[in-house]
Structure formats: structure tokens, C-alpha cells
């Protein structure tokens, strides 16, 4: 992570200057992203064709984290910042301490679909109201509190300097609904105080729910079907039971049973590294796939950075890259862990989400080549075929 740990270490504080606000929003981008490899691992380790409810639940949250990340980038762009994504440090080192949260929280690791993984997910999405042990002024307690301070900071800055002085970013950099899709809520342009506060509200409430309820605010903000907030979606799986519409957030779900088969999973070692895979002669193929996964992930990040830095239409290129990640994951996770001792214990290979500086540089070049080949233009029909034709002959 680039800024998030720094903001965390500086302690609870409302951002007072535009520069601080930008630092906070870059940290927000990182925090939102931090959850993505965690949820991806949970999803990819479900054996294909099993646990379909859990699979689609994790997937739906994962997509909304991508939305949050994009909205954080829109916020940062709106206040004249420059999102940094294609950076080897952008991905956290797992297990990672969740920034801007209570230090009592256990580190967040990459875990296969399991009760322990769900506990991690629940810890990430835990509503503020549940943090009863934390008193105000005790420092960072939760992501929700962090977004509150961002909101306070924006309000104060607007009051002090006026909206025009705060929202100085170019509109052309905003990712809009035409560029981003398949997600709960909706991406929208952040152009001033109102849209900025709506964005913050959406990010918080999709995670932890509208105050004192199990529901998010997509129905109110976007006229969409009412959905459970992330914490409660995950809790359904953890408890093996659905919520009833009138369940209170503090109570366990009281609805019908939900079928979860914890054994239908590929157990993994979350701290595996490609270097470790490379040590074993028989692990060559796994090593190759794991490296390919990381390189593709790097390509995804640099694609996103391009999209967040003035060419939002580049979002379209992220879609086939994500499908490629899915396919690589399916090829990777079904192999026994190359380390014979782990394999003997029933562990499988997994994606390690490690990206070196040189891999990131290559990814940036790759994306630049793709962008040049495809020639996407804002508002025009998306057609990526020039790219595939160009590269495959």
C-alpha cells in the first residue's frame, strides 16, 4: 500500500487541506482494493459447480468493492488528485493489517472458502454500530469511521474555500455508467459536494448497511432492487441461514436454511509465494500459471490506472482481463501445492498476488500497446477486436 498505512499510523484525524484530502482518498482506493484479492481467493477456491449461493454472494460483494474503488478514484480525480494504482506497492502484503481500523482486528489473510475466511470477511465489513468496545477519540476504529472523516473534511474544505476551489478536477477523468457496469449501485460522476457525499454514503452503506438495518441503500439511491449490505450477505453464508426481511442487524438471521458445503473447497496456504513454487521441479507448470496470474493482475491494475487517469473508456479493456484471471484461476487452484509437505496435508496451489517492479513496468507497456491498438474513444461503441487481431495475427 502506498498511502493507507501512513494515514493509519498518523492516527485518527480529519483531513484539513486539499493535499491531505487527496492522500486520504488515495488511501481509500488502496483500502477498497485490499479486499479484492481476499474475496477473489475466497471465490476462486470454491470448487466449480458447488456452493453456488456463496459463490455469487462473494462475487456480488467483490464487484461492489470494484465499484467502491472506482468511486474512490472518481472522488480523488474530482478534487484534482491523481490516482495511483499500477504500483508494485499498491497491493498490500498479506496477511495485512486492515488500515483505519481497530488494531485489535486480526490481520487479513488470503484464505480459502471456509468458516475462517468468512470470519475475515465479516471483520472487514463489520458495521460501526457493532464496534461497541471502541470509544470515540480512541483512534481509528473502522472503515466507516474513516469515510466519515473524509466526508467531514470535504464539508469543511468546501465551507472554507468554496466548492470550486475543492472540486478542481477535470470532468473528462470521471468514470461514468457507460464505462463501468455489472455492479450493485452505479458509478456516477463526482463533480461537487453533493455527488461526493452520495459517493461516500454509497461506499459505506453497501458495506455495513443503512443505519440500524441489514439493507444497503441501492434502492434509495438508484432505484434498484433492495439488497443486503455486505456484512449481512456474508453472515448468511457464515450462519448457513438467510435473513428474513425484518431481521434486526444485531440478531442472527432467522430465515430459511442456506446450503453451504464447507468441504467443497480447495484448501490453500495463503502465504504461498511464486518463489516457493519455483523451488520444485514438478511445480514448474504451477509456477508458470501463478506467474501468469500475477502478470495478468498487474495488467488489470495498469488498465485501471489508465482508466482513472483521463481515459475512462479504458475500463472496457478490464473486462476481458478479468475473464482471463478467472480462467487462469480455474487452471491454477485445482493443482496440489507444489510443496510436497503441503500437498500431503491436502493444500492446493493458489494465486499469490505478488507483483514486482519489472512486472508492473511490463504490464504498463502492455496496456499502452493495447490502448494504442484498440483506439477506444469516449462515448463511441466499444470494440476491442483490433487488439485481439493485432496480437494473434
Amino acid at each position: 500500500m502506498i498511502n493507507a498505512n501512513e494515514v493509519h499510523d498518523a492516527g485518527f484525524k480529519v483531513p484539513r487541506t486539499i493535499q491531505e484530502l487527496r492522500t486520504y482518498l488515495q488511501a481509500a482506493l488502496e483500502v477498497e482494493h485490499l479486499t479484492i484479492p481476499v474475496y477473489m481467493t475466497g471465490m476462486y477456491t470454491i470448487r466449480p459447480g458447488t456452493n453456488s449461493t456463496a459463490y455469487y454472494t462473494i462475487r456480488s460483494v467483490l464487484l461492489e468493492e470494484m465499484l467502491h474503488m472506482t468511486m474512490a478514484a472518481n472522488l480523488l480525480n474530482a478534487v484534482g488528485g491523481e490516482p495511483e494504482v499500477a504500483h508494485p506497492e499498491f497491493i498490500g502484503k498479506y496477511p495485512a493489517q486492515l488500515p483505519m481500523s481497530s488494531t485489535a482486528l486480526a490481520p487479513i489473510g488470503l484464505r480459502h472458502f471456509s468458516r475462517e475466511a468468512l470470519n475475515t470477511f465479516l471483520a472487514i465489513e463489520k458495521p460501526r454500530a457493532f464496534h461497541t468496545d471502541e470509544k470515540d477519540g480512541a483512534g481509528w476504529t473502522s472503515i466507516g469511521q474513516f469515510y466519515d472523516t473524509v466526508g467531514q473534511g470535504i464539508r469543511a474544505l468546501v465551507e472554507e474555500q468554496g466548492e470550486h476551489e475543492v472540486f478542481t478536477g477535470s470532468r473528462g477523468k470521471q468514470v461514468g455508467p457507460g464505462d463501468f457496469y455489472n455492479s450493485g449501485g452505479e458509478v456516477f460522476h463526482v463533480t461537487g459536494l453533493d455527488t461526493a457525499l452520495t459517493a461516500l454514503e454509497m461506499i459505506s452503506e453497501q458495506g455495513e448497511g443503512v443505519h440500524d438495518s441489514i439493507w444497503d441503500s441501492d434502492d434509495q439511491l438508484f432505484g434498484e432492487e433492495r439488497q443486503l449490505a455486505h456484512y449481512f450477505r456474508f453472515n448468511e453464508i457464515a450462519e448457513g441461514r438467510c435473513y428474513s426481511p425484518n431481521d434486526a442487524p444485531q440478531r442472527p438471521p432467522s430465515g430459511p436454511m442456506l446450503d453451504v458445503t464447507w468441504e467443497d473447497t480447495y484448501p490453500i496456504k495463503g502465504d504461498s509465494t511464486v518463489a516457493e513454487y519455483g523451488k520444485y521441479q514438478h511445480g514448474r507448470a504451477v509456477h508458470r500459471k501463478a506467474v501468469a496470474f500475477n502478470e495478468t493482475y498487474a495488467t488489470l491494475l495498469s488498465c485501471l490506472e489508465t482508466a482513472f487517469r483521463g481515459a475512462p473508456q479504458t475500463m472496457a479493456m478490464a473486462v476481458p482481463i478479468m475473464l482471463e484471471l478467472r480462467d487462469l484461476a480455474q487452471q491454477l487452484y485445482r493443482n496440489p501445492h507444489p510443496n510436497p509437505a503441503h500437498a500431503k496435508d491436502g493444500y492446493f496451489a493458489s494465486a499469490t498476488f505478488e507483483i514486482s517492479t519489472s512486472q508492473m513496468e511490463q504490464a504498463k507497456q502492455r496496456v499502452a500497446d493495447h490502448v494504442a491498438a484498440v483506439g477506444l474513444e469516449a462515448g463511441q461503441p466499444v470494440d476491442l477486436s483490433r487488439d485481439t487481431v493485432g496480437s494473434n495475427g
Binding site: 456480488s60 457496469y181 462515448g379 476491442l384
Partner: protein, 645 residues
Amino acid sequence: MIETTTGAEAARGSYDAVVVGAGWAGSLIAEKLGRRGWRVLVLEAGEAGTQTWSGYLDSVRTFHSAVAKVPNSAYRHNAAAPSPDVLDLSPDASGSGEGRPEYTADGYFVQKGKMPYGTDYVRALGGAGMHWLGAVPRMHPDDFTTRSTYGYGRDWPIDAADLEPYYEEAEKELGVAGDAEGQRHLGVVSDSGYLYPMHRIPPSHIDKYCHEKLEGREVTDPMGDKRELHVRSLPQARNSTPAPEYDKRKGYRPKGAVGLPNYGERCVGNASCVPICPVQAKSTPLRVQDGFSDSVTLAARSVATRVLRGQDRRVRAVEYRSYNDPASPTSESHTVRADIVVLAAHAIENARLLLASELATTSGQVGRNLMDHPTTLAWALAADQVGPYRGPGHTSGVEDFRFGGKRRERAPFRIELSNWGWTWSTGAPMSNVASALALGGKSDGGVKTGGVFGPQLRSLLGSTIGRQLQLQIAVEQSADENNRVTIDPRRYRDAMGNPRPIIHYDLGEHVREGVYAAYEVSERIFTELGATSYTDHEPVDGVPPLGHFVHRGTDLTYHGAGHGAGTHIMGTDPNDSVVDADQRTHDHPNLYAVGCGSMPSVGTSNPTLTMCALALRSAERIHRDLAALSQPTNLRSRANAEEKV
């Protein structure tokens, strides 16, 4: 969320309108009426289930595990409400040369025609709108007047201009991605400012390859019709990027999957549109049903058996049977009254119901004029890799032989550029694998040898499969009274006891000329493409392929397109048509028969969009009818009037 109920439960309610069939036409009408507050019952003969995500995934899995990936392969057999299936037909050598049909038919249809009717549909929630491809070209203005302009077929009582606003509305309801400019060039979209809700689906590599080699080239058909070729994008009911300028810059929000929030909002090229899009980026009637108001009741497993007559010429009720177990035909009968009855159960099912109910008999046309788009296939190997098996089934076509004066002599045709290689013609790519492995036996009973394995197999498959081109050429079939659906309840019933459709089908001379011209044109197109044609319609070991016929000394075949139409066609004269321009039966003022069955001609356009436009138009008329029926009768004023006399 779509809620369904049982037939028994639905029978307890009272309704303003009863709609038979929950496909596109029935769903659109029910949705429109429901939004205006009318109490509507929709009776679906088949199973529901796909309205939930787990039910939909079950259908995806059923398709994945099916041996033959035919359009109905995502649905299980239903004994209570059987569906026709393309696998019901087999070629039969015994009759060839003796003038007997060259095919046999099993299954739901009783086929008695000279030629096989190869079109299927599925009786399930959403109907054939679940397994369709999603191709939604509009009809051309000329297609509505083939009799008066070209001297064949039948004219419509309305024209393209009457339908235009409803076409636009249907394109919004279905969610169409398309290139309006290209369609304006064809003359099928006339509004100069019109945009489709979403940008066109990107052209495939095959589209571009063909465009490069064909654009502007001239090809002459055997009748001397010289045409300049153009490769044009196909409008599709499939999610792509919304057009921000659509609808006076209001834009369009793609409707995603039903039963799973925020899913399927873009096509990602899964390439199994027929029979089932695994992400629901392809539009289905479920999307319309998802918008049903509370005044609409949707009952599945409810097979309409008759429409019952009331006083005067009106109908009063629908009789239907509900069942609990699709493996068993056991059922119970119910009757539900309604002010207006709308049959929206598919052309063949509508005809079957009208015939079983002995309604709309004046013209003697019920069941007659059965149509389809007889589709001939042409396949070739390109000189280069063209990248088949990616994206929707087809994304571009050559439209140039759809129009023009030669229609007098031969039926016009629309050429689809297949993105799915030789799937339809030869069962590729699995057939390529089987022959490369030398699977199967020899005709003398011996075991085949010479199969290849490993890298050799891969390179052999790569070099052939990657070069597969296929043209699917849909030929217009005009109304012919002798192509018809009948019933014979004493001899042919399904397991539940309902009459099975008996089909008499043949291709007229005009259509055969069209198929022949299409074949010749396909050969010339392959020449222009520098491709080697492998098209072969000749009998193999004395067995003629399905849909085989010989025309002008050339062996030809056709397939069903799944475009069942005709059977209750519209017109102005109650003596030679079944419904009027609003799809209301001439004989019964409160009985509508809607769907492709009402179409007097089908042109060369896949008919769903036109059917939906007609349904939306009828919905307005039905609303007016219901409003008129619910006007209070003022008895006192009439009494006063009589006193004065």
C-alpha cells in the same frame, strides 16, 4: 422478483383479462395492462423455475450436460406440456424415389406433409423467447405488400409506418443493441434521428474478414439479379454499451439478469446464446415479467385446453388444466372467467386452441398459412484463420438479396454470417474431433483406423476448425393455405389428453426458387471470399439429408428456423382472415389471437421484433376495450329517454 402461482390457486381469482402464454407477446401485453391497473391472469403451460437464479443455473447445467446442444436442450422433457424438438425428425431413405416423404417424425407434432416442418418451440416460462438467438431486424416496408407489389403472398392491413412507433417501443422493451445508420441504409428504419438503446454488438473477426473481402463486390443470382454486397451489423436484443444520446439524451440503463442483482448487464461473448446465455445478457421475457405490477397473476403448469363461448359472439372463459408433476400427465381442470381473452401461445398452439375451441371459424383460415423461414446452410473453409466459435451466433449479415424486383420470381433471402463455424451444418467442432480421432465404424462393420493424437490432433483441429465459415440463409416463405395445422382429437392426443398439432407442410415453387438462388449465391460468395466450399446436400449412401429436395437438377436442403408464423393471419376481410389489424378475432369481439400467427407475411426478418411491436399495439387496443367495458351503464337516463318517446 417474479412470483408464480399454481393453476388451482389462480382459478380462485377474478380477472379483467386472461392471457394464454408467458412468452414475449403474452408478457408484454400482461405487463402493459397490469401497469394500467387491469387484473390480468397469465397462464403458462410449461414449467417456471428460470425466474430464480438457482433455477436458471439449473437450466444452464441441463444444457451443459446435454449430448445434442439443440435449442430445447436447456429444458427437461415435460409430459404434461410437451414441446416439439428438432431431434424429432429423422431422414428416411425408404420413401425416396417413390414420391413418399423422405423423413419420419416422432414427438409432439404429427407430421403429414410432403416436407418436414423443422421448427421447434419450448413450452416453459418465457417460451421460445428463452432459447432464441436475439436477432431483431425490422421488416422492410415492401415486406408488408408482397401481393400488391410483387404478386405473391398476402398483404398486411397495416404498413411499416403504422408499426414504426411500436418497433421503437419494442426495441426499448427488449433492449436492442444496433447500428441505426446501417438499418437506415437498408430502408427498414426511416426516422433520421433514431438511435438504438445500445451501441451495436462489436463485429466479430469473421464479420470483418468478410467485410474486407465482400464489401462492394457484385454477385449475380441465377435469375440475373445483380447485387452489390454489403456486410451489415445485425440489431440484437443483447446488452452492449448504452448509447448516451438515446431517447433525447436520456440514455438507457441495460436490464440485467432476473433473479440475481447486477448481473448480465453486458454480453461477454459466452457464445451459447442458443439455447441459453449463462449470464442473461441476452434479453428474455423474464425481464418483462420482472416488471409485472401486483395486478398481474402468473400461473405456471397451467395448460389452456379451450376458450369457452358465451352469449352473442363473445367468449366468456378459459378452461385449463393444472398439473403438479411434469413427469406425469395427471391434471385437474379449472375454468376462469374474463372480459377479454388473449391467446399468445405461439402460432401453432394458438391455432390448436382455436381449433379445439371451435372458435373464429368464419374464414376457415385458422391453422392455415403456416410459415417459417426455410433456412439453407452453406459451409466452406477460408484460406485464412477466421476465428469462429466466439461471440453471439451471428453479428452481421449480407442483406442485399432481401429486396428488389426479382422477388416476383424467387423468394428473397437474408444471409447470416455464422460466428459458430460449421456447428449447424455438420455438428462441428465435435464432429471434427470425432473424425480426426477416427471414431466410429466403417460401413462394412470394421473398425476405423488412422486417427491422430496429441500435437498432431491439435494442429489438425486448429488448422481446420479455425477456418470454418458458414452462411445461414433464411428464405422468405409466403402464406400458402395448404401449409396448415389441424387437429384430430380422436386419433392424436398428447399424454394429458389435449389434441396434438397435425402439420401439413411443403415448400412452394417460389420458395424453392429462393432456396436454389440462395445456394447459388452462397457458392459465388465463397468464390469472392477465396474460400473452398464444402456445401453438400446430396444423399449419403442413399439416405437423403433432412429437408432434402431437388430443384433444377440441384440437390438442396433446408432447416427450420424456429420462426413459426401464420395460422391466424390478419386482414380486413372476415371471410379470408382470422384477426383484424389489432389482432382481435373478426368473429369474437373479446378474443384476441396475438403473435407471429397473425402475420400475413414474414419477409426475411426474424419475426420476434415485429411480433412484439404488434403485441404492444394490441395492448393499447385491449386497454381501450377494457375501459369501454367497464364504463357504468346509466340505466336511469335510458329509462328517462324511453319515457320521452
